[in-house]
């Protein structure tokens, strides 16, 4: 049995979504994680709690609030409309925004852990040798935090692929635009097309497993090599 055109479209939307979201999260998450790892600020734990929220909240809560906020009567949707923008619900951009929130801790937390373990001593030494802060970040912190970056990338990507609740609430199930794999699977189960559901579910299971095996295997080799 082969994938139908609709399933292929859903696969493509899913991979595109996960790719775009991971890229955005690495860009936004790296400075945030760096700040969280280095800052001595007293109220840092508040920000940490906000970052970790998507870990404990049901995705439907996030989706529900997004649906309300992005709607024409919501603060975000209202502003968008005032400036002649298009509403964000039911668009790929809307899904990207929702997913960035949804997968945030999966990128920020591994990076924060990695940056924390880099340690202050090394950076201070580099500073006394005249390395600028940016220099220290790119030539010391980033290379040493490489396993953290790998974990963050893979977890962010895989977690977005597995997203369901947020997309369900703000997606609108438009084929080729907002219909993702998890929704397609749900639809197949609901319509008793168990064969097609099996094909997609099995594929997703295998892909997720291989991704995680790759990360854990790679991180182990780094540890064994003593880098």
């Amino acid at each position: 049995m082969l994938l139908t055109e609709a399933d292929l479209a859903a696969l493509w939307v899913t991979l595109k979504l996960a790719g775009v979201v991971t890229a955005i999260l690495l860009l936004l998450g790296t400075p945030l994680a760096w700040w969280l790892a280095r800052s001595q600020m007293r109220y840092k734990f508040l920000i940490e709690a906000v970052v970790a929220l998507p870990l404990v909240l049901p995705p439907t809560v996030l989706g529900f609030y997004l649906l309300i906020m992005l709607g024409p009567h919501g603060p975000v949707g209202g502003l968008m409309q005032m400036f002649g923008g298009q509403p964000l619900a039911f668009t790929f951009t809307g899904l990207v925004i929702g997913s960035v929130f949804y997968s945030l801790p999966f990128v920020v937390q591994p990076l924060q852990d990695a940056f924390t373990s880099v340690g202050g001593r090394l950076l201070e030494t580099a500073a006394t040798l005249g390395a600028s802060p940016l220099d220290r970040f790119f030539t010391i912190a980033v290379p040493l935090a490489a396993p953290g970056f790998l974990t963050a990338t893979v977890l962010g990507f895989a977690h977005t692929v597995g997203e369901f609740g947020v997309v369900l609430m703000i997606g609108g199930n438009i084929p080729g635009k907002t219909q993702v794999l998890s929704i397609a699977i749900y639809d197949h189960v609901e319509t008793l097309e168990y064969g097609r559901a099996h094909l997609l579910s099995g594929g997703l299971l295998l892909m997720s497993f291989l991704l995680l095996v790759a990360v854990y295997g790679f991180n182990r080799r780094i540890k064994v090599a003593g880098l």
């Binding site: 024409p72 639809d187 319509t191």
Partner: protein, 248 residues
């Protein structure tokens, strides 16, 4: 001594009351029927002393659960397809199936003057999104597709249609304003005072195939039979109508 005797009597009487009269029923109910069913179940509990536990969800999911041995006594579906299947598979009790309500489809918007009484707004198409339930999953979605097809608009509307997984989600899309209007069930927009907020088009029932909601018995016990009988009697039927459903 008196205290002990009193205690024993209390415990005994509690035991007797649970053994004799009241049974606990588990009933799977289509989400769209949640409001009415809760009200009916309350009446039924008052009259019979049985306890009714209602489990709301999509009919497709309930069907799969029942197929795999979910412990429901009765099943109130959003269509007739799944009850018929369960009957054929020998899971539901043969001959227990009946139509308890007929769904009414409306085109609705929370905006006061957007939808006219003939649904001409669909021709003018001054809106960005039209919400419908997924026709593959939900009977109300199938009906919405039939209405659009009947008016020759199904193809034309493709770029404007957003789909909810069920009629409840479709309602949320419209209610939150993310979609300007949508095909929802009359029971969703009808308030208990009998009015409808916003504007709507009550779609003539000739334009779509009837949305037949059927129920079946899954387990044969007197309490479950009593509930199914209760639903077909006049007071319950009146409540069903009051909540915006048609009757067979």
């Amino acid at each position: 001594m008196m205290q002990v005797t009193k205690g024993v009597v209390l415990i005994l009487s509690l035991l007797i009351s649970t053994v004799s009269a009241s049974a606990e029923l588990y009933v799977a109910v289509a989400s769209n029927f949640a409001g009415v069913m809760s009200a009916i179940a309350e009446q039924f509990e008052k009259q019979t002393g049985h306890q009714v536990r209602l489990v709301f969800g999509s009919t497709g999911k309930h069907y799969a659960q029942i197929q795999h041995g979910a412990p429901y006594d009765a099943f109130f579906a959003a269509d007739d397809k799944r009850p018929i299947l369960l009957e054929r598979e020998g899971i539901a009790l043969g001959g227990s199936r009946f139509t308890y309500a007929m769904g009414k489809l409306v085109l609705w918007s929370p905006e006061a003057s957007l939808v006219d009484a003939q649904g001409k707004v669909l021709q003018i198409a001054s809106f960005r999104y039209l919400a419908i339930a997924n026709p593959r999953l939900a009977p109300y979605g199938r009906a919405a597709k039939q209405v659009l097809a009947f008016n020759g608009l199904w193809e034309k509307m493709q770029s404007r249609i957003v789909m909810g997984e069920n009629i409840g989600q479709t309602y949320q899309f419209v209610k939150s304003g993310n979609a300007a209007l949508g095909f929802v069930s009359y029971s969703q927009v009808l308030s208990q005072q009998g009015g409808v907020e916003g504007s709507m088009w009550m779609i003539p029932s000739e334009v779509y195939l009837p949305i037949v909601q059927q129920a079946v018995l899954i387990k044969d016990n007197t309490a479950a039979r009593a509930l199914l009988k209760f639903i077909q009697e006049k007071p319950a039927r009146e409540m069903i109508e009051q909540y915006g459903y048609g009757l067979p």
